[in-house]
């Protein structure tokens, strides 16, 4: 001990102080701040996403409509790239030097250390040649992905297409989508996106300081497997769809066929269509722009987006509604002098002078006069003010699924138009108007807009004698046969079944009676009931409309065909419908080749006036053809696939 003993405490004090400083600091970074823990997890954890296969879509007989096909994305990690022969590289990949530098710069700007897509979707052949020489190009590698493939190039508008997610979709998805993901943009791909996309899997890998994987975090406790998208079974009949698309080739219009007992859509044709394979792969962007700019608008989904005044087929609805209202019965007869007079000087012309017409023949011969009187009864002689009678009538019509969306399982369905009483009150400045003010509604003209889907649905109602199921395109999801409850609910059209037979009799005669408007679309052995229509088109040639269902008893198919600018319903639409119906019911076609060729060859696109018919191919009722002429058709498109030989 000496005089400086007390300094021991100074020194020990410093030791204690320093130890406390260290402990405080350590306490701060370990317990108080969580910044370091987060950084530690960032350091070591890598989430690797496992992409699920998108669900495939089958037709009603489980034939493939869309499947997945592997493609190869060329990836690059700029930092790992070593000098190499760019000329060879560009040649192999099929790009030019300028494009190479542009892509490389883009990848480098994204991140020098992370992999980014250098070139998307190499074809299998490019991949094969490139793969052999991949070792020469350090820093590049190929990543396997799948894209959609449509083996039959059919039903484009129905299936829709997928594309890269937009910024907006990423924002709205609550973190589900990431940059570069694909999602459904239109059609079934969009409306069933949540089922089709499946579930991404995540692997939580631990990596070391050099980013080398070192195993699964917590032994994979937090890893999830990718779940493939659901397999969708559509109600579509692929063969029928293909036949319809061929028949509608070079024509503008739609064909919608529905199974009345379920509301399942059997064919969904929008013409002109396009090859869905165009919307896949590297050229998608260009193809899309081309399709978008075509004057015939192939991207327009006509069955649900095109609205037409229905024309004469609307008489079916009026005949039913008027019976339900008790204002006509099968015996109600009017004299047709070639038109219907109303008001002081109003006159609605009829196609012919039909003479004495009853309910059945009014349908068969499509007499305008008859429906002028009928409409007049319903609106002006209903024992109430016409405006209220109109409301009652409108309500009855709307129960046929007209004037509002049917909620088909596709996006962007249009409502159509069923005018309200207010429209006329506003137009005429008072509500003291009567049937004469909108008499054209009696024959389906005027302020009416009905989509082909709605037309087909009306036929389904008639076929069912008074009810319908909402039309839909997907009949089953995955292994469990579930569809939305909405589609299994029976909707009543508000017409007593007993009123249907007389109308159906008329429709049967349209096709099957020698004086019917669609007699040359008669199908041997099948009693098809139909109604022709000609929709007045102020912009050019009238639209040809035909709706039908078959067979008369226990109907299996209801169909609507519209061919724009094609004139009478009986000329183009009815034969197309009859072929479709025969094909669906018998899996084969018994009509002569000339009959089909005429339809296949016709070019009814506006501006290309090839409406002329070859002499000799004049239409004749089917029954008049000799048996020998009924050649079995050999053209491949119509190869028999069904049970009936």
């Amino acid at each position: 001990m000496n005089s400086f003993f007390a300094r021991k405490f100074v020194i020990q004090g410093i030791f204690i102080a320093v130890a406390l400083i260290l402990l405080t600091r350590i306490f701060y970074i370990q317990v108080i701040s969580d910044k370091y823990l987060l950084s530690a997890n960032n350091n070591v954890l890598r989430k690797v996403l496992i992409y699920p296969a998108r669900g495939i879509i089958l037709d009603r007989y489980e034939k493939i409509l869309v499947q997945n096909e592997p493609v190869y994305d060329l990836m690059v990690i700029p930092k790992e790239v070593k000098p190499f022969d760019t000329t060879t590289f560009c040649k192999l990949v099929g790009i030019d030097l300028e494009g190479f530098h542009k892509r490389f710069k883009k990848a480098k700007n994204y991140s020098p250390y992370k992999a980014s897509v250098f070139e998307k979707q190499l074809s299998a052949t490019t991949y094969a040649t490139f793969q052999e020489r991949l070792y020469e190009f350090k820093g590049f590698f190929v990543q396997n992905r799948t894209v959609r493939r449509y083996p039959d190039s059919t039903a484009a508008q129905f299936l829709g297409y997928i594309g890269e997610v937009s910024e907006k979709a990423i924002e709205n998805s609550n973190g589900f989508y990431r940059q570069g993901d694909y999602f459904g943009i239109s059609g079934v791909e969009k409306s069933y996106e949540e089922l089709l996309r499946g579930q991404r899997g995540v692997q939580n890998l631990m990596v070391d300081a050099l980013n080398r994987p070192k195993g699964h975090f917590a032994d994979g406790k937090y890893d999830t497997l990718a779940v493939s998208g659901e397999r969708l079974i559509s109600s579509l009949d692929k063969e029928l769809q293909k036949l319809g698309e061929q028949l509608m080739n070079n024509k503008i219009g739609s064909v919608v066929a529905i199974e009345p007992s379920t509301g399942e859509i059997l064919s969904f044709i929008s013409s002109p269509g396009y090859d869905p394979n165009l919307m896949v792969g590297r050229e998608r962007g260009n193809n899309y722009m081309k399709l978008l700019n075509q004057p015939s608008k192939p991207m327009f989904i006509r069955p649900i987006q095109a609205e037409y005044p229905p024309g004469s087929i609307f008489k079916v609805i009026n005949a039913l509604v008027a019976q339900q209202f008790g204002q006509i019965n099968p015996q109600t007869t009017y004299y047709c002098p070639g038109g219907y007079r109303y008001g002081r000087s109003g006159f609605m012309a009829c196609t012919h002078v039909h003479g004495s017409v009853n309910l059945i023949s009014s349908i068969e011969e499509s007499c305008n006069t008859y429906y002028g009187y009928t409409y007049n009864l319903m609106i002006d002689k209903a024992g109430m003010r016409p405006v209220n009678a109109f409301k009652k009538w409108r309500n009855a019509v709307s129960r046929f699924g007209v004037g509002d969306r049917l909620n088909i399982d596709l996006p962007n369905e249009k409502k159509g138009l069923l005018p309200s009483a207010d429209l006329y009150t506003k137009r005429w400045g008072s509500d003291k108007w009567g049937s004469g003010f909108n008499i054209s509604l009696s024959i389906g003209q005027g302020e009416l807009g009905i989509t082909p889907l709605q037309m087909a649905n009306v036929m389904a109602i008639v076929a069912n004698r008074g009810f319908y199921f909402k039309p839909h395109l997907i009949q089953a999801i995955g292994e469990k046969k579930v569809i939305k409850a909405e589609y299994t609910k029976r909707n009543d059209a508000g017409i007593d079944p007993k009123y249907f037979e007389v109308v159906i009799q008329g429709m049967s005669q349209v096709v099957n009676s020698p004086s019917g408007t669609a007699i040359y679309s008669k199908i041997n052995g099948i009693e098809m009931c139909g109604k022709t229509g000609t929709v007045q088109n102020p912009h050019g040639e009238d639209h040809s409309v035909f709706v039908a269902f078959a067979p008369r008893n226990n109907p299996k198919i209801a169909i609507a065909v519209i061919v724009e600018n094609a004139g009478f319903g009986s000329t183009w639409s009815a034969p197309i419908a009859s072929l479709m119906v025969e094909k669906y019911l018998t899996r084969s076609i018994s009509r002569p080749k000339a009959y089909i060729d005429r339809l296949l060859d016709a070019n009814l696109l506006p501006g290309e006036s090839s409406l002329k018919q070859k002499p000799g191919s004049k239409l004749k009722p089917d029954s008049n053809l000799k048996k020998a002429q009924r050649l079995k058709l050999a053209i491949s498109a119509f190869k028999k696939t069904g049970k009936n030989d």
Partner: protein, 419 residues
């Protein structure tokens, strides 16, 4: 005739147990730091942890051997140890192997000897011998100069390797001089200079000088009547300003760029998480991720997957922090503090000033390593590569710390005798 006592009589076993505890903590954490799933056995001699076990056992044997020696031996032969160390330090500059930029190792067979480690205890011994000789007064300028020379020779040789960290260790011996009577102003002035050094790097010179003028003015104003105080303040002010410019010059021209960078990173002047700042940042992440109770033995991801460089040597504390959390850190720091305080107490109970001075030397050196090493892992001290005593991987450092400590224990066991 006094009965022959056991050589282990009077040995401070508490320090020995603390020493062994720290060694074993070190061994387990080295195992965790370099854990190799393919060689999971902690006894595998191909691995660092296997080797460390050999080092620990041999260090302990070495310690026991020291206890068997005569306590006079260390006093008597201290100039010889010092001489040998200096020779080795010169030798290492000629035949040494350069590892990581420092020519600090002499290869002997498969092992490498690091003379700078041994310079610590030999300098300590010589300093103790010199200061404990008769008629030595630390207040004399001559004494101070001799002390400075004893320390500066090995420091300079180590600087030439260049191993700044080890060289700086010798500055800690200022505690010894302080205890022996060096004016307390030395400590205060050292503290002021360190503060000025840091401030001159952080603030612009103009601000700093302006601030100094303000402080000097206030001091003078408050002590208007004390003329000698005023003179001191003015001297102090002038010296400070000169020092600021010297720092600036030294910083820009004398320090090597990596040292400059480390200081910049430490002071937060530059944020360089990929370069110089990487080590410290990763080290902080590793320690910080430990939380209160740690991730558990061998469960640390940061250290196991090599995010922290040099994690079994200089950054071994990261493994402790990550796997044992604040609890483990607390235990380790507590053990060190306990050891340091006990060493000071041991030093104070010596009857011979040689033993006391040597004891303070041991405490100072251990303290410096403890503070700087842990301080650098949590970003409180600059990254200078010095090991954590008894815990860091490495034979030379473990042996030299063991020798350092066990000489004190030997001296202490004989404290009743006269050297």
């Amino acid at each position: 005739m006094i009965k022959q006592r056991s050589p282990f009589f009077n040995v401070d076993w508490i320090v020995v147990i603390t020493f062994l505890t720290l060694c074993i903590i070190g061994w387990f954490n080295i195992h965790a730091a370099v854990y190799d799933p393919e060689k999971p056995s902690i006894f595998n001699l191909d691995t660092n942890y296997g080797k460390q076990l050999i080092f620990i056992v041999s260090a302990f044997i070495l310690g026991l051997v020291i206890l068997l020696l005569d306590s006079k031996f260390f006093n008597t032969f201290s100039p010889v140890f010092y001489g040998i160390t200096l020779l080795l330090l010169i030798l290492v500059l000629i035949v040494g192997r350069n590892v990581g930029g420092n020519q600090a190792w002499i290869p002997i067979g498969s092992f490498r000897l690091q003379p700078s480690e041994f310079a610590k205890f030999s300098s300590c011994l010589l300093l103790a011998r010199y200061l404990s000789s008769v008629n030595i007064k630390i207040q004399d300028l001559r004494t101070q100069s001799v002390c400075a020379i004893i320390l500066l020779i090995p420091m300079s040789l180590i600087m030439m390797q260049p191993d700044t960290g080890s060289a700086l260790t010798f500055t800690s011996l200022v505690f010894v001089l302080y205890r022996e009577g060096l004016s307390g102003y030395f400590l205060i002035i050292t503290a002021i200079l360190i503060a000025l050094f840091v401030l001159s790097l952080l603030l612009s010179k103009v601000f700093l000088i302006f601030g100094l003028i303000l402080i000097a003015g206030l001091l003078i104003y408050n002590n208007k009547k004390n003329r000698s105080f005023i003179t001191t303040v003015i001297y102090g002010f002038v010296i400070s300003v000169v020092f600021i410019f010297c720092v600036d010059f030294a910083y820009k021209n004398i320090l090597q760029s990596h040292q400059r960078n480390r200081i910049d990173v430490l002071l937060g002047i530059v944020q360089d998480l990929k370069g110089e700042g990487y080590n410290v940042n990763q080290s902080k992440i590793a320690i910080g991720s430990g939380g209160m109770w740690g991730r558990g033995y061998l469960q640390g991801t940061q250290t196991k997957y090599d995010f922290v460089p040099e994690q079994s040597t200089d950054f071994i504390f990261c493994t402790i922090g990550e796997e044992w959390g604040f609890a483990g850190s607390f235990v380790v720091i507590g053990l060190y503090l306990f050891l340091l305080l006990r060493i000071v107490n041991i030093a104070e109970r010596q009857r011979s000033s040689f033993s006391r001075i040597y004891g303070y030397g041991v405490a100072s050196i251990l303290f410096f390593h403890f503070f700087i090493n842990i301080g650098m892992t949590v970003g409180l001290a600059p990254v200078i590569g010095i090991p954590l005593p008894f815990i860091s991987y490495g034979g030379s450092s473990l042996w030299s710390f063991t020798i350092l400590l066990f000489i004190l224990l030997k001296l202490d066991s004989n404290r009743m005798g006269i050297i």
